[in-house]
């Protein structure tokens, strides 16, 4: 089914999207409508234009591919499925996502991967092709965040305060991260080849979506950040 989004508000658009029996839906002329495909399962939604805030919130298995930019809160609390953005995304992408994958060709704003989780066999993955703003992986509790720095000019691969409050999961930054300050509660070091082998499948998938050579991308220094379990966040309490 093809839907011309320009004339429709988000409620009508989502209603049509939910009601159709078609598995594949193409939206044209999308102009920032919010909550697209929220909570859906089993659909493939192709979006031409700009996807608004909370694209694929609570996504439960659908695949969303956006040929343009997406705004804030991409994949908020997503449980399963895939979101592919052929452009840049706004802030707080993948907030508390528990499963599924997000691929972004360009840059991400503040707080990407915030409070990302993992549960049983669900390990969420977020791959950002460009660079990210401040507070990347804040409160990260699980999953894998990969930032490639393939575009975005001379800016550092991540802005200020990455991994604040991180207490689970892994974060790979394709950079030696010289000059980037990490909090005391995380370890950061250059990833070993076997650790990079672990993310090869995700890089290959990224290249399948956006082009590029996985070998060339992986032939670089990656910094691996993990929480320091020996130095957890605890405020010393005394029972009163």
């Amino acid at each position: 089914m093809e839907l011309h989004a320009a004339e429709l508000g988000f409620q009508e658009l989502n209603e049509k999207l939910r009601e159709t029996a078609d598995r594949e839906i193409t939206l044209t002329g999308c102009i920032g409508q919010r909550f697209l495909a929220a909570g859906t399962a089993g659909k493939y939604v192709k979006i031409n234009g700009i996807a608004g805030n909370a694209l694929g919130a609570y996504l439960n298995g659908s695949v969303i591919e956006t040929f343009g930019n997406a705004q804030d809160a991409v994949g908020d609390t997503m449980n399963a499925g895939e979101i592919i953005v052929h452009g840049n995304i706004g802030d707080a992408a993948g907030y508390a996502m528990r499963g599924g994958k997000i691929f972004v060709k360009g840059n991400a704003g503040y707080r990407a991967g915030i409070h990302m989780k993992a549960y049983q066999d669900k390990i969420p993955v977020m791959v950002i092709g460009g660079r990210t703003g401040s507070f990347l992986g804040e409160y990260q509790a699980g999953g894998i965040i990969i930032v490639l720095g393939l575009s975005g000019g001379e800016k550092p691969i991540v802005s200020n305060f990455p991994c604040t409050g991180m207490h689970g999961g892994k974060l790979f930054l394709r950079s030696d991260c010289a000059g980037i300050h990490f909090p005391h509660q995380v370890h950061h070091r250059i990833a070993a080849p076997e650790e990079l082998a672990e993310i090869r499948c995700h890089i290959e998938e990224y290249c399948a979506h956006f082009g590029g050579d996985p070998d060339a991308i992986l032939n670089a220094e990656f910094t691996l950040v993990t929480p320091d379990s020996g130095n957890p966040y605890k405020q010393m309490y005394v029972a009163n």
């Binding site: 909550f35 929220a38 909570g39 805030n53 609570y58 409050g165 966040y233 010393m236 309490y237 009163n240």
Partner: protein
Amino acid sequence: MNFYPEFEVVRNDSRCIRCRVCERQCANEVHWYDADGKVMLSDESKCVNCQRCVTLCPTRALKIVKSDCRLRENANYSDQTIKEIYRQAETGGVLLSSMGNPNPLPVYWDKILINASQVTNPPIDPLREPMETRVFLGKKPEHITRNADGTLNTQLAPQLTLSMPVMFSAMSYGSISYNAHASLARAASALGICYNTGEGGLHEDFYKYGKNTIVQVASGRFGVHKDYLEAGAAIEIKMGQGAKPGIGGHLPGTKAVGDVAKTRMIPEGSDAISPAPHHDIYSIEDLRQLVYSLKEATEYRLPVIVKVAAVHNIAAIASGIARSGADIIAIDGFRGGTGAAPTRIRDNDGIPIEPALAAVDKRLRDEGIRNNVSIVCGGSVRSASDVVKAIALGADACYIATAACLAMGCHLCRSCHTGKCNWGIATQRPDLVKRLNPDIGSQRLINLMDAWRHEIKELMGGMGINSIEALRGNRLMLRGVGLTEKELEILGIAHAGE
């Protein structure tokens, strides 16, 4: 520094039959049997005065009394204040407490009195005449509208239907036990009211009580997924909690075990951190976005509640929430309970529910948006008369949690944070959890609510009012005693005698 224990165990040795029930029942390990002397001994320093041993002692040989061994009297530096300083000087720790603020701050409910009919407006006898206690929470239409064919448009925004204006407020599985959740869920179901999951997710066994469940979405988003959102009768966004406004929660990894971790959908042993803010909410517009994302995900079938702590500018905050698309606002006053909160925050942050409720109701009426939302108030609603006063001050319904815990056996020892609740409520220790029998727990909750419903009807009948609808915001039915003009002005009530 060692100081003399706060409580003393007084054992009447002539009554004690050495059955050792006290020893077996005390998770704090206060009591033990000395085989040589054939006597029961105790270490009072571990006692929290939960009254478990007292209650179960078959010969009433035990009582717990407050020690009269006190520091030198000082009206400024109380024993409590001094001991808190000792504790912090010793550990460098942040003081941690449980349950609601116990300090002698004003309880406005106790300074408000209810009207009754005499002569000119006859009272109603609820035993003979029908009384309506059912309420519907949610957005109400501003105007009557008609369809094209002239018939009435009866499409309403989704409503939460309650048989009486009381619900059990949020307590997560993790902060309280499986059996406590089972008791609340079953009682809510039998009563036709709702209980609330809190932010710990919904155990798979309790999906069947969904029609009587409010599912909560908090900053940590624990256990939040499509099935969970659709399982309940309403979705509550937790922005704040009366006992600890402005701070989040932290279930340590050591407590995130077994079903608790599974229900939160996190790996076992992983810290469950609920950050203080929602990372995507910095404005009413952002709140609107979360409200609508939840509505979209559940196809507009469920009302969305936004819960906030009662704080200084609560009326302006509520006005914002009423414009955010939320269907119900829940306001939690500063005496509300908690499973653990820093003492300083619990005892000093936020404001009482009574002026907060009155201010919110007035503000929304003044702005002509009162019908946009229903108001639920919590934070120490202790009795049917508190409920009646709350409704007359403008609430649509009340949330209770401490009273519900008391019904299940809680003795308000305020030690929930230790995880050793001897009554099987605020604990995950299997040997303690099984002490709370859900058959009994739910029946006691049902009894309490049945009793309150009768009392609410009697109080309403006395006023000559036969439905909750006619009581809501009916401040003429209230009078203040011993309140200042400012307090009366904020509560919107006259003084007794006026």
